[in-house]
């Protein structure tokens, strides 16, 4: 029980493993998102995995460590940017004559860059879901923090 001396986060083992795996998890989230139109998954699943990777860091290293390096003001901005991006992709359809029209080239089937607007939409959804979920998690842990202070 040596971690009692270091109140931040969990044991050294967990911290080291987290350092190794967290980038892989982010990479997996990006993979799931970009291949959304080819394999099972997509923006929502990718966003959830992205949020879980951040949650992983927060749990392993403790919330104060994370809050020092990371301004929580940026979260709603990134989240809204995801929503705005999705809306802009939809509005771009007006060029082709209709709302949500697929104006990007459809490409060859089963290629990575195919299916037009689906991939950018997936990226937008990933931003929205990932940062939205992470800010919900942060809100929950910050609220507990205030309660303990009383």
């Amino acid at each position: 029980m040596k971690q009692k001396t270091n109140k931040e986060g969990m044991t050294l083992i967990v911290k080291t493993i987290t350092r190794l795996t967290v980038l892989l998890i982010v990479l997996y989230a990006i993979y799931i998102t970009l291949h959304g139109h080819l394999t099972p998954g997509g923006g929502f699943a990718g966003g959830v995995i992205l949020a879980l990777s951040f949650v992983h860091v927060v749990i392993a290293f403790g919330k104060d460590f994370v809050m020092k390096k990371f301004s929580k003001e940026i979260l709603p901005i990134l989240e809204s940017f995801g929503g705005l991006l999705f809306l802009i992709i939809a509005v771009l359809g007006f060029i082709g004559g209709s709302f949500f029209k697929n104006v990007f080239g459809v490409g060859k089937s089963y290629n990575l860059f195919s299916a037009g607007q689906i991939m950018p939409s997936n990226i937008a959804i990933m931003l929205k879901v990932g940062f939205g979920m992470f800010s919900a998690f942060l809100c929950l842990i910050l609220f507990v923090h205030k309660d303990e202070d009383k």
Binding site: E73, P76, I77, E79, S80, F81, G83, L84, L87, A90, V91, G93, G96, G97, S98, F99, F100, K101, N102
Partner: protein, 503 residues
């Protein structure tokens, strides 16, 4: 042009969320500008319907044709709803410029407000069952957070209650959508109507089950009496502009608009479903007004009165005759304006006097001329005093009751109207004429600050609407606006033909 009703408020919500912290007034200016644009577009839609002599405008999202893609449909009923939603929300957002100063985070307020508005506009324009559900959830979830906006314990409790009941309603609606999809293989309202029409007789029981599920879901959303328990907590706890939005338009858009659209235009329900709606209407009229009689909290009183007036609308619609439907729609429009006005006055009283308890209001020697004027107009209007708009719609509903030989309903409608008058006489007594009427009370002369200009502006604007909306019933104007709107419901199955013709 129709997608703009969803695009503009969503765009404004995200932009305010990103740039809202740059400048203190960014949210105010951007939200109000969007609202003005939306009011303009909604009037333009009505104008286009009228000038092209169309029954409905349709729009295929993504260029996909009708049974496959998502279709947006606006007919006269939806166009009137769009006008009333955007007009009321314009006045409410103007009102919030000054009122919301006392809360800490105005930016978040405008973001949620705009999301709620886009949800409501989306419900009205979509001609697709699943899109109705999605937009209904957008509007509901934003309204849950707006009810809890003050984050006091009372508000959080009310929001939690609203959240639980609203989620039950949404699950029932989703379940019924799943059942409909399983045997109609389509989600488009017009296409479902076509398929159901060819359905063999033995599946009618299933249709009835689905309709009951939908009616229960939408009744929870619109707080009809057996399902009303969330409303008297949620509406008073929200900030006053949000109470005006919730009570004025949210319960009507999410509950009554969707319910009427489905029971008239999609399923061709028999006499028994209309009878159910009719009895729900009568019960909520009576229960709402009787509970409102002994309320002393001004906002809670208004909330119960909302329940009673939703009952009026359901009574008119449940009669099933063209005149009854016309009366129901007209009362829906009128009540949106009146109840928003009354909730805004309650906000002004709270802003100036710091209380919404009628007894405490009567103890202060306050002079708030514009607020009192608006209160007077709203009270007279809601209790059906002749020159104002509330009188005409109640009159039509009562005439429709008598015409369809339902004298009991007509009697109840008159009784509830009289009881509403007595409720609002109580409000006026405590609000105005306390000197001569209430004895043995020390009048505290406290200095009160009068409400700012923008709050006066929106109250006066809604009061003017209250006075002049009665002209909608004059024969020439009625034939252009209200008759086509009730016609589209009364013609039932024709709706799908109109939509398919327009593709």
């Amino acid at each position: 042009m129709l997608p703009l009703f969803v695009i503009l408020p969503l765009f404004s919500a995200f932009i305010i969320s990103i740039f809202g912290r740059v400048n203190k007034y960014f949210g105010d200016i951007f939200a109000n500008f969007t609202n003005i644009l939306l009011v303009f577009i909604s009037f333009l839609t009505l104008y286009l319907l009228n000038i092209n002599d169309l029954s409905a405008i349709t729009y295929n999202v993504g260029g996909w044709r009708l049974p496959i893609g998502i279709t947006l449909v606006v007919d006269y009923y939806s166009a009137l709803m769009l006008i009333i939603i955007n007009l009321v929300s314009f006045f409410v957002s103007v009102y919030s410029i000054s009122y919301m100063e006392k809360y800490t985070d105005k930016t978040k307020y405008y973001v949620l407000f705009m999301l709620m508005l886009s949800g409501m506009n989306g419900v009205v324009i979509s001609g697709d069952l699943f899109n109705i559900f999605v937009f209904l959830e957008v509007a509901s979830i934003s309204s849950y957070s707006l009810v809890a906006f003050g984050v006091e314990s009372e508000e959080l409790e009310a929001a939690f209650k609203y959240l639980v009941l609203g989620t039950i309603a949404s699950s029932l609606i989703l379940l019924s959508i799943a059942i409909i999809y399983s045997y109609a293989s389509s989600l488009n309202l017009a296409h479902i109507a076509l398929i159901i029409n060819r359905l063999p007789v033995e599946k009618v029981l299933l249709t009835k089950f689905v309709i009951i599920l939908l009616i229960v879901g939408f009744c929870i959303k619109s707080a009809v009496v057996p399902f009303h328990s969330w409303l008297p907590d949620a509406h008073p706890s929200a900030p006053a502009p949000i109470s005006a939005m919730l009570s004025g338009i949210l319960i009507k858009t999410l509950g009554i608009y969707t319910m009427t659209r489905i029971i008239f235009n999609v399923f061709f329900v028999g006499e028994d479903i209309f009878k159910l709606v009719y009895w729900l209407g009568i019960v909520s009229m009576l229960a709402g007004v009787i509970i409102a009689l002994y309320q002393l909290d001004y906002k809670r009183l208004l909330a119960y009165s909302s329940i009673s007036h939703v009952g009026y609308i359901l009574l008119g619609i449940g009669l099933g005759t063209p005149l009854g439907i016309l009366g129901g729609i007209f009362h829906l429009l009128n009540h949106s304006v009146i109840k928003s006005l009354l909730f805004l006055t309650s906000g002004s009283l709270e802003y100036s006097l710091g209380t919404r308890d009628l007894l405490k209001i009567s103890q202060t020697n306050q002079r708030l001329p514009i607020t009192k004027f608006a209160m007077l107009i709203g009270s007279l209007s809601i209790s059906g005093v002749p020159p104002f708009n509330g009188f005409w719609s109640k009159l039509i509903i009562i005439i429709a009751c008598v015409q369809s030989k339902k004298l009991f309903a007509g009697f109840v409608a008159i009784l509830v109207s009289v009881l509403t008058l007595s409720v609002f006489i109580k409000v006026l007594k405590y609000g105005f004429y306390k000197k001569s009427l209430i004895e043995g009370q020390e009048q505290k002369s406290i200095e009160v600050k009068d409400v700012p200009f923008w709050m006066k502006f929106s109250m006066l604007g809604l009061a003017l609407l209250c006075v002049f909306m009665g002209i909608l019933i004059f024969p020439n104007i009625r034939d252009v606006l209200l008759v086509p709107a009730s016609d589209i419901l009364a013609r039932g199955y024709e709706y799908s033909k109109i939509v398919f013709m327009n593709k």
